[in-house]
Amino acid sequence: MFSGLSNIANQVDFAFVFVFALDAIVLVGITVFMIWCCIRFSRKRNPVATNIHGNVGLEIIWTVIPTFLVMLMFFVGMDYNKMSQAPKDAMRVKVQGWKWSWAFTYDNGKENDYMKSHEGKDVPVLTLPVGKAVILDMTSSDVLHSFYIPAFRVKHDVLPGGRISNLWFVPNKVGVYEVFCAEYCGEAHSKMYAKVQILPQDEFDKWYGQAPVKLDPTMLASAGEKIYSAQCAVCHSIDGSRKIGPSFKGIWGRTAKLQGGITKKTDAEYISNSIKMPNSEIVEGYPAAMPVLPLNDAKIEQVIAYMKTIK
C-alpha cells in the first residue's frame, strides 16, 4: 500500500482506502444496528411489535445519501491512466504474448533478456528506465492474455488478430517486479510469468546501447537453452516425457512422423520451418497447438544448437 511504485499506484491505493473506509463504516453501522435490534427488540423484551409502515423522509435520505456516496466513488475511480493522456514522448516497447510466455522488443531492435524465476526457470524480463513514461504496444499470437503488473496497479488484455492494445505507466522505483498473465489462456496460464526490471537511467542506457553479443559457437547452445526454458519448456520436455508437444529428447536428426503419413528428417530446415510455420506440418498424434513464436533466425540457430545437445 502507498508504495508509489508507479505513477498511479498511490492514486489507486487511495481509491481502495477510500472505498473500503466508506464500506467499513456502513458495514459496521449495519451490523451493530442489526445486533442491537435483535437484543433490544427480542421477543422477550418486546413481545408486541409496532407496525411501522414506512417513513418517506427516511427512505429519501437513504436513497439520496448512497447516491451521493457512489457518485463520489465513481469520480475517485476515474483517476487512472487513460491512454488518451499518455505522454507523447513516452518510450515504446513491443510486447508479444502467446501460449505461454512474453517477448519484449525495443525500438532499436533490442530484445529482452531472461532472468531466473522462483522456480529456477528462465523468464523474460522487461527492462525499463526509472522515472520515464513507457507505452507498451501489445499483441497476442493466439488467444487472449492479460498483461498485469500488480506492483504498478496496471493491467490490460492482450488481443490476437493484429489488434494492438496499449498500456502506459511511469515506473518510479528501481527494482524487479512480477508480471502475471491475468486472462485464462489454457494449460500453463498460471506459468505465464515475466518480470519487469527497473534500472536507473544510466544503467538502462548502457544496457540499451549494448550491441547483441556476438556469440561464439560454444555459447550458442547455452543461449538456446535459455530460450528453450523460457518459451518451449511448457510444451516440450527434454526427458522424453509427453507434454503438449513432442519431447525434444534426441530431436536432432531423428525422423519425424507427420500427419498424412509423411516422414521427414529433423534437420535445420525442418526445425526452423516447424517454428516459423508451426501448423504447416503436424507431428502424428499431436494437436496443432504450437503458436507462432517471435524467434528470428539467429535465435532459431541458438535453439538448434541447443537441440543438438539434448540426447
Binding site: A182, Y184, A288
Partner: protein
C-alpha cells in the same frame, strides 16, 4: 375425475397422463412393480407445481454436492504452491465445471425453480402455475442440460492427439477465441448451458404470466408478498436476457463447427464482441441469483419480527429497479478488455446506480427489525446472515465498479472473493434460509434447532475465513484461474483452505440435520412461525393437492401482523 383433495401433495394423485396413471395404479394394487411404476409416474410426469419444486430440490442439491466437491478439490490443490495432486489440465476443467455447475445448475435456478415453483401459486392463491405442462418440460430441459454437462466431462476426444477425456475448460465465461479453438470438449458444455438457458426462460415465462393472470381476484399488485415481486422481477430478466446467452453460445458452437468468423480473431472476428454478448446476459443473471433471495429474506425478516415490512412500496420499486438497471451495466466486466475509454466511463457510471436500490433494500430490512418482536429461529439467523454477507459482497463490488481499482483487481482472487460473497453469501445463503423457513411446510416436519444453530455457526465462520482470505490475496495481486502460485501467496491460500474445511463441517451438519429430520422430526403445525402469507394462513401442512381446501378467503394482506399499528 376426482381428486384426492384431502391428502398431502406427495401422496398418490392424478398426473398428466391420467388414464395411464389410473391403469397403473389399478394394477399396482396387486402387482408391486406396477405400484412402483405408478408411483414413479406420479412424480416424473406430474405437472403439480409442488412436486416439480421437489424434483428440482432433489436434482439441485445433488448438483450442489458435486459443485462443492469440485470447489473442495480446488482448495486442496491450492493448499501448497506447485502441483499437489491434480495436473494443470485437470485443475482447469475442475474450476470450469465448478463454475458452470454452481451458476447454471445451482444459484440461477435455485430459488425460483425450487421455492418459486412450490410457493408462488400458493402465495397468490392459485392452484398451479399458468402452464403446468411447460413447467414440467422446463424440469426435463434442466435435467437434460445437466446430463449433457456431465457427459461433456467424459466424451471429449481429441483425434489429433488421441487423448480421451478432454473435459471442457476455459472457465464458465468461455471467452473467445480460447473457447473457439480449444481442443477440449467446449461445444458440448456450451450446448448444455444453452439448454439450461431455455429451461430458465420457460420458467420465467411461466411465472410472469402466472403472476399476471392467476392472482386471487382480491390480491392487487401491491398486495403481493415481496417474494412474489422478487420472482416477478427475476422472471422478466430470465425472459429478456437469457436468449442473448442462448444465441451467443449458439454462435460459439457455429464458430467451432463451421468457422463463421464472428468471434475468432484469426478469422477477423472481434473477441470483445463475444464478451459484450456474454455479459449482456450474464450480468443480469447475477441478479437472477440474488433478487429472489431478497424476496425470501424480506418474508423471513417480516415474519420473525412479527411486524409489517418497512416501506413496502420502496421495497417493490427497488427490486424492480435493480432488475432494470442491472440490464445496462454489463461491460463493467470488461474494463481491461480493450473496450473504448468512453464506454469504460459510461459503464462504470451506470454500475453505481445498481447500488442505490440495493441500499434501499438493506436499510428497509434494518428498519423492519426496529420495534419488531424478534425471534432468532434458524431461518431468521440465516436471513440476517444474508444481509451481512451480501452487504460485504456488494461493498466489494463497489471497488470493482470503480475503474482505477478494478484495473488492479480484475481477474484476481479479489473478484473470486466478491462473487462468492454475493452468490454464495447472497444467493446460496438465501437458499439455506428458504429451506429452513419452508421446510416444515414442504415436508410436514420440524427439524432440530440446536443442530441447525451449530451448523450455521461453523458455516458462518468458515465462510468468512475462506472468502475473506480470497479478498486479501486478490488485493495482493494473485490472479484467478491459477493452478500454481508464487510462494508469497501460500499463507493466505492455506488459511482459505482451512476455512473451507470448517465450512464443510458446518454445511454437513446443516444438511444432515434436515435430512434426518425427514424421518425423526416432530410433526409441524400449520403455521409454526406466525407467518401471514397464504401458505401459512390458508394452506394445510403439508399442502394438499390443490393447495387449499377451498378457494382462499384472503381477508388480510401479506404483512398484517398482530401488534400495535401506527
Amino acid at each position: 375425475m376426482s381428486y384426492a383433495v384431502n391428502k398431502p401433495y406427495y401422496e398418490d394423485q392424478a398426473v398428466v397422463l391420467a388414464d395411464l396413471y389410473a391403469t397403473m395404479a389399478e394394477m399396482g394394487k396387486t402387482n408391486p412393480f406396477f405400484k412402483f411404476l405408478a408411483w414413479l409416474h406420479s412424480w416424473v410426469l406430474s405437472t403439480d407445481h409442488k412436486r416439480i419444486g421437489i424434483l428440482y430440490l432433489i436434482a439441485m442439491f445433488s448438483f450442489f454436492a458435486i459443485g462443492v466437491s469440485l470447489g473442495l478439490t480446488i482448495r486442496l490443490e491450492l493448499f501448497w504452491p506447485g502441483q499437489d495432486f491434480i495436473s494443470a489440465t485437470t485443475y482447469n476443467s475442475v474450476f470450469t465445471l465448478h463454475g458452470v455447475i454452481m451458476i447454471f445448475l445451482f444459484v440461477i435456478p435455485g430459488i425460483p425453480a425450487i421455492f418459486g415453483n412450490f410457493f408462488l401459486p400458493i402465495h397468490i392463491g392459485a392452484a398451479d402455475v399458468q402452464f403446468p405442462r411447460l413447467n414440467l418440460l422446463s424440469w426435463y430441459m434442466f435435467m437434460g442440460g445437466a446430463l449433457i454437462a456431465a457427459l461433456s466431462l467424459f466424451v471429449g476426444y481429441d483425434a489429433s492427439s488421441g487423448v480421451h477425456w478432454v473435459a471442457p475448460d476455459g472457465g464458465w465465461t468461455f471467452y473467445a477465441p480460447y473457447s473457439t479453438t480449444a481442443n477440449s470438449n467446449v461445444s458440448l458444455a456450451v450446448f448444455a448451458a444453452f439448454i439450461l438457458g431455455f429451461s430458465s426462460i420457460f420458467t420465467g415465462l411461466n411465472f410472469v404470466s402466472t403472476i399476471h393472470r392467476m392472482r386471487h381476484p382480491k390480491q392487487k399488485w401491491m398486495d403481493m408478498p415481496l417474494f412474489v415481486w422478487g420472482l416477478y422481477g427475476t422472471a422478466w430478466i430470465q425472459v429478456l436476457a437469457t436468449p442473448v446467452i442462448g444465441i451467443t453460445l449458439a454462435l460459439l458452437i457455429m464458430e467451432r463447427a463451421f468457422g463463421i468468423g464472428i468471434f475468432d480473431a484469426a478469422l477477423g472476428g472481434d473477441p470483445v464482441l463475444y464478451q459484450h454478448m456474454f455479459w449482456i446476459y450474464s450480468h443480469p443473471a447475477v441478479y437472477v441469483m440474488v433478487i429472489p433471495g431478497m424476496g425470501v429474506v424480506s418474508e423471513i425478516i417480516a415474519t420473525f419480527s412479527q411486524r409489517t415490512i418497512f416501506g413496502y412500496t420502496s421495497m417493490v420499486l427497488s427490486m424492480i429497479g435493480i432488475a432494470f438497471v442491472g440490464y445496462f451495466v454489463w461491460a463493467h466486466h470488461m474494463f481491461t478488455s480493450g473496450m473504448s475509454e468512453a464506454s469504460v466511463a459510461i459503464f462504470s457510471f451506470i454500475t453505481f446506480f445498481v447500488a442505490v436500490p440495493t441500499a434501499v433494500k438493506v436499510f428497509n430490512w434494518l428498519a423492519t427489525l426496529y420495534k419488531g418482536s424478534i425471534q432468532l429461529d434458524p431461518p431468521m439467523i440465516w436471513g440476517l446472515s444474508f444481509v451481512f454477507l451480501f452487504s460485504i459482497g456488494g461493498f466489494t463490488g463497489l471497488a470493482l465498479g470503480m475503474v482505477s481499482t478494478d484495473l488492479h483487481v480484475h481477474d484476481t482472487y479479489y473478484v473470486v472473493g466478491h462473487f462468492h460473497y454475493t452468490m454464495f453469501g447472497g444467493g446460496g445463503v438465501a437458499v439455506f434460509a428458504a429451506l429452513h423457513y419452508w421446510y416444515p411446510k414442504m415436508f410436514g416436519k420440524m427439524y432440530n434447532f440446536t443442530a441447525a444453530y451449530i451448523g450455521w455457526a461453523l458455516f458462518f465462520v468458515g465462510f468468512n475465513v475462506l472468502y475473506g482470505s480470497m479478498l486479501v490475496v486478490g488485493l495482493q495481486g494473485m490472479p484467478r484461474r491459477y493452478h500454481d502460485y508464487l510462494p508469497e501467496f501460500q499463507g493466505l491460500h492455506q488459511v482459505g483452505s482451512y476455512g473451507s474445511f470448517i465450512m464443510i463441517t458446518g454445511l454437513l451438519i446443516v444438511f444432515g440435520n434436515l435430512f434426518i429430520s425427514l424421518f425423526t422430526g416432530k410433526k409441524a403445525p400449520q403455521n409454526p412461525w406466525g407467518g401471514k402469507t397464504l401458505e401459512w394462513t390458508e394452506c394445510p401442512t403439508p399442502p394438499v393437492l390443490i393447495n387449499f381446501y377451498k378457494k382462499p378467503k384472503l381477508d388480510h394482506g401479506p404483512y398484517d401482523y398482530p401488534g400495535e399499528w401506527v
